[in-house]
């Protein structure tokens, strides 16, 4: 693979989401309408993602599985 040529131009890079935008996006109805890897695999996870980024991994699960 020639890594000097890429579709990731500065303009394309700028269209990506920041982490906060990504976390917000995955909890939207728009995202839940998309197909996942298996039926009913799209779940909320925003709270856990934000906590893991800001304070590290929780020592024990503190959220129910439906919203890990």
């Amino acid at each position: 693979m020639d890594r000097t040529k890429s579709v990731v131009t500065p303009q394309r890079f700028a269209t990506g989401m920041t982490f906060d935008q990504y976390v917000a996006y995955v909890a939207t109805p728009e995202n839940f309408k998309r197909e996942g890897s298996a039926p009913a695999t799209r779940r909320c996870g925003s709270t856990t993602r934000r906590r893991r980024r800001s304070s590290g991994w929780p020592a024990a699960p503190t959220v129910p599985p439906k919203c890990w």
């Binding site: 990506g16 890897s37 993602r49 893991r52």
Partner: protein, 158 residues
């Protein structure tokens, strides 16, 4: 980074990668892999899925078991001028996922396929909430930092 939230590997590593980027002063951008449809293609293209990022994914396919796979997350590191440095794919080397998860999901003696699926789902969820996911997330960061250091010191593997 290419990610989808249904991926256990993304759920494990994306928050850590965001923290790594914030700590290291890196500008992070996350791209969905798929559009409306889930893609199982071994050679993804925008022609198949115009609303996806298949063209980016196609640059970073994971070769294993004689096939190419759209494994995620993919975390690609570039210079400020978007010169490629390194990319991390799916999980760290110490997480032998195919072996570990394969054992969890395997049908056991006396189990029906449905029973095995239900038990496998439960045990895999427990694994994701176990301390090992933190171990593997830390290993991901270690791999990336080591690779970037190596890249800085001796150049790219090509």
């Amino acid at each position: 980074m290419i990610a989808e939230e249904w991926s256990s590997d993304c759920r494990r590593d994306v928050p850590m990668l965001a923290r790594l980027a914030a700590t290291g002063g890196l500008e992070l951008r996350i791209f969905r892999r798929d559009g409306q449809k889930f893609s199982a293609s071994h050679h993804p293209t925008l022609a198949e899925a115009p609303d996806s990022n298949a063209d980016i994914m196609a640059e970073f396919l994971n070769s294993k078991n004689g096939q190419t796979w759209q494994s995620i997350p993919v975390a690609v590191f570039y210079t400020m001028n978007l010169e490629y440095l390194y990319h991390y794919t799916e999980y760290p080397a110490i997480y032998h996922k195919d072996r570990v998860v394969g054992q969890i999901r395997a049908v056991r003696a006396g189990e029906s396929k449905d029973d095995a699926r239900a038990r496998g789902d439960r045990e895999f969820m427990e694994l994701q909430q176990s301390p090992f996911f933190r171990v593997w997330s830390a290993a991901c960061a270690d791999e990336i930092l080591s690779a970037l250091h190596e890249r800085l010191l001796v150049g790219s593997l090509g």
